[in-house]
Amino acid sequence: MTLAVSILLISAVLALVLFIRPGAIPPAETLPPTAHLEERKAAIYENLRDLSFEFRLGKLSEPDYEKARQALEKQLAKVNAEIASLTGKVRPAPSVEKPTAVKAAEVKTVHKCPSCGAEFDRPMKFCGECAAPMEAAKS
């Protein structure tokens, strides 16, 4: 009796471990490359909220509050800029007029992803196609 129960139990456990239906295997997860930046953004928003609340409670003087708020907003802007560059939603940079006396030869630099080979005309921190780190991230 004990032997039968043992065999049954162990067989059931081994079946649970080894026999996995294809439907039970989750598909590969594709996290957006901006996921960690969105987390950082949420944290900065929470810090802004805390800062505003502490100012209302009188823990900070107005100059200190303004300084801290500007620093956080600068961080937020940086994060938003990174998100925007990763999702390709940045407006082209305004063109700068070159002196007419001498025209420098136009040099077109192509920035290529080392992982998937996608090409971009500006330096990127993370590839917009496969999210691998690029030269700008490594520098």
């Binding site: 043992s6 649970l16 471990v17 989750p26 996921a35 502490e54 409670l57 900070l60 200190d64 600068k74």
Partner: protein, 671 residues
């Protein structure tokens, strides 16, 4: 039945090895089948260990003395609750409980994170199961719980068992070890996530939010386990002490200290991207100290009222610790670039620096306790002579540290993030500082001559004032805007930020406990040999010995004194201290009788019959001022912990901040 139990442990051991291999192979080779199979193995281990534990518990409950463990830990006369508690009363059973709890935690971790952190979870599984392999090795080969005295139905090896140690037959001891184990085992989970995040170089800190809850719940269990042990010591050992700096007590305190530091400094990583290396070190140290604590308790290398008998387990634990520490240090050093802080400390007068001081002080305390605990072992190894370090050393070092930590709990909330100006600090500290002076002066006026007790009471007033001010200012701000009364506003305030205000409640619990600790400076005691009709006094109380009797039952014989307690001629209560001698082990125990009140406890212990005078009982009487505040403070601490676990009502006050446009983003990019 015992065959099934032993087989279940052996198969669980094999599955744990399979789970590690499959999880690592699946992660490295990106084979989802292997990672899923490795996770399923965790569930299989849980099922098998539940069966094995169930068999052992059943044998204990029906007093099947064919099992050597049951014969050694249980007897027929024991109440059912202690028969169940015998599961963790001995080495083999408690190790099996450890393995079962680890399998339960692992299964819950996998189920709750089955849709998250796909790249991290195989490594989390591998780390959890590596620890599981270690404990299952002990269960299967070193301390097997299913050794038999006799095999076969109807065969009885012994008529009755030895029974559980009588000191353990007390209600708090029925729950103290499992709650401590829930703490010890639980700290493996944040460690597993931390190491997995290092291995996979997680770009964000989402893993911290996940493990924060685990860490808090685990810390809550660890706190409960420590306080239950203190409550047991107070009520059972007969001398009214609740903490003796026993090595095994210290072993439970060590991971609690580092876990407390981790719970605080992890907030810095979440909010500011700072102290990443600190957090890795703290969460790793917490895990190692849990294993180390288990090693201390089970190896027998230290003398303790708690320790199991000396065994060969010490070598196993040391080996596991050595491997785990080496691999962790190598990984942290190799990933130092990944752990760089995103912002820097700007000012000493900032909340960030108070968190840093908090970490330093808690680590200092951890080191001091560890040093004192291991000193006898080290001196025996180096000099051949065991030099014991007692309570005076620990108190000398840890009382000032504890008071400084108490100060920090009050200072932290008053200081702003990044930097605070002197003016704002002066404003913030004014009332707390006044209350410190008032409380200290009041305690001196009431007769306190202890420097530390006076400072402690002053600091308790300081911290209470800061916490009340935080609640009051925040509630007033909300009440003003939303037309709520202050009480509703306080609830709304707490709900909006449960971590912060739940944390303040936890701090309030600590303050109340410190008030209880300070009462020890005013303890009174006396020992009298009395007979029926005798009276004696202590402090404001008069004790009338009304009756001295004796008797027996199948489990123990007893002697009892019935003593009336009076104050100012008024009868207060009848106390009945008892002395028992358990029949099987012939071990005496004290059943003290306590009159518990908030201001002080009156505590009577029946120490035995007089050796010099016939028919006289030796009664030890104590007055312990404020000791009930310790248990009350613990209740507030647990309530605060529960509040911290409630999700906050998120309100993004984006309207208070200026919108950050794409143009602004470009300005930033352009520098």
């Amino acid at each position: 039945m015992e065959t099934l139990g032993a087989l279940a442990i052996l198969v669980a051991f094999c599955l744990a090895i399979y789970s590690v291999v499959a999880s690592v192979a699946g992660a490295v080779a990106k084979r989802p089948y292997l990672t899923v199979s490795g996770q399923r193995a965790v569930y299989g281990i849980f099922i098998l260990l539940t069966v094995a534990s169930g068999i052992l518990v059943y044998a204990l409950m029906v007093s099947d003395f064919r099992f050597a463990y049951v014969a050694a830990r249980s007897n027929r006369a024991m109440p059912a609750v202690y028969k169940f508690a015998a599961w963790w009363g001995g080495q083999e059973g408690s190790l099996l409980l450890w393995s079962w709890l680890l399998s339960l935690y692992s299964a819950v971790v996998l189920i709750t994170n089955r849709r998250k952190f796909r790249d991290m979870m195989p490594w989390v599984t591998a780390i959890l199961m590596s620890t599981q392999i270690f404990f299952l090795t002990l269960n299967a080969f070193v301390e097997p719980p299913f050794q038999m005295l006799a095999v076969g139905r109807g065969i009885t090896a012994v008529q009755d068992g030895q029974g559980l140690n009588p000191l353990l037959q007390y209600w708090t001891m029925a729950i103290h070890p499992p709650t401590l184990y829930l703490g010890y085992v639980g700290f493996i989970v944040p460690f597993a996530f931390a190491i997995a995040s290092l291995i996979t170089k997680q770009p964000g800190d989402a893993w911290i939010a996940t493990t924060r809850r685990w860490s808090l719940i685990t810390w809550g269990f660890q706190s409960m386990g420590i306080l239950l042990g203190a409550g047991w010591a107070y009520a059972v050992l007969g001398w009214g002490g609740y903490w003796g700096w026993d090595p095994v007590e210290n072993a439970s305190l060590l991971p609690w200290l580092t876990a407390t530091a981790f719970l605080h400094s992890v907030m810095m990583q979440e909010k500011k991207g700072m102290m990443k290396v600190w957090n890795m070190v703290l969460v790793s140290a917490t895990f190692f100290l849990c294993i180390f604590g288990t090693f201390l308790t089970r190896s027998g290398i230290v003398s303790s009222v708690h320790a199991f008998a000396q065994s060969s387990l010490g070598t196993w634990f040391l080996g596991f610790l050595a491997i785990a520490i080496t691999l962790t240090v190598i990984l942290i050093v190799r990933r130092l670039d990944y752990l760089k802080s995103e912002t820097q400390l700007e000012s000493v007068l900032s909340r960030e620096s108070s968190f840093l001081f908090n970490n330093l002080i808690l680590l200092a305390s951890t080191f001091a306790v560890l040093w004192g605990t291991m000193f006898p072992v080290l001196t025996e190894y180096v000099m051949g002579e065991k030099i014991t370090v007692g309570a005076p050393f620990f108190n000398k070092v840890n009382i000032p540290i504890g008071l400084f930590l108490l100060l920090l709990t009050g200072v932290g909330p008053l200081i702003a993030w990044r930097r605070s100006s002197w003016d704002s600090l002066k404003r913030a500290f004014r009332w707390p500082a006044i209350m410190f002076v008032v409380a200290a002066a009041a305690s001196i006026a009431m007769g306190s001559r202890s420097f530390y007790a006076t400072i402690c009471l002053g600091l308790c007033a300081f911290v209470t004032t800061t916490i009340l001010m935080e609640f009051y200012k925040g509630s007033r701000a909300i009440a003003g805007k939303s037309e709520m009364n202050l009480v509703r506003a306080a609830i709304e305030l707490t709900h909006r930020n449960t971590r912060r205000y739940g944390g303040y409640l936890v701090h309030m619990g600590i303050v109340i406990m410190f008030i209880g600790f300070s009462g020890a400076a005013f303890n009174k005691d006396t020992t009298r040999e009395v007979t029926i009709g005798d009276r004696f006094t202590m402090g404001p109380y008069e004790f009338h010995v009304d009756k001295i009797s004796d008797g027996d039952n199948p489990n123990y014989t007893w002697q009892r004194a019935e003593i009336g307690v009076y104050k100012n001629g008024q009868f207060l209560q009848e106390l009945k201290p008892e002395r028992r001698v358990y029949l099987v082990t012939e071990q005496p125990t004290s059943e003290v009788s306590i009159r518990r009140r908030l201001n002080e406890d009156v505590y009577l212990n029946f120490a035995g019959m007089s050796q010099t005078e016939e028919n006289k009982a030796v009664i030890q009487a104590y007055i312990f001022p404020l000791v009930s505040w310790i248990w009350l403070g613990f209740g507030v601490l647990m309530m605060g912990t529960a509040v911290c676990l409630v999700p906050s009502k998120a309100r993004i006050l984006a309207s208070k901040a200026e919108p950050v446009s794409e143009f602004a983003a470009e300005k930033v990019l352009a520098g």
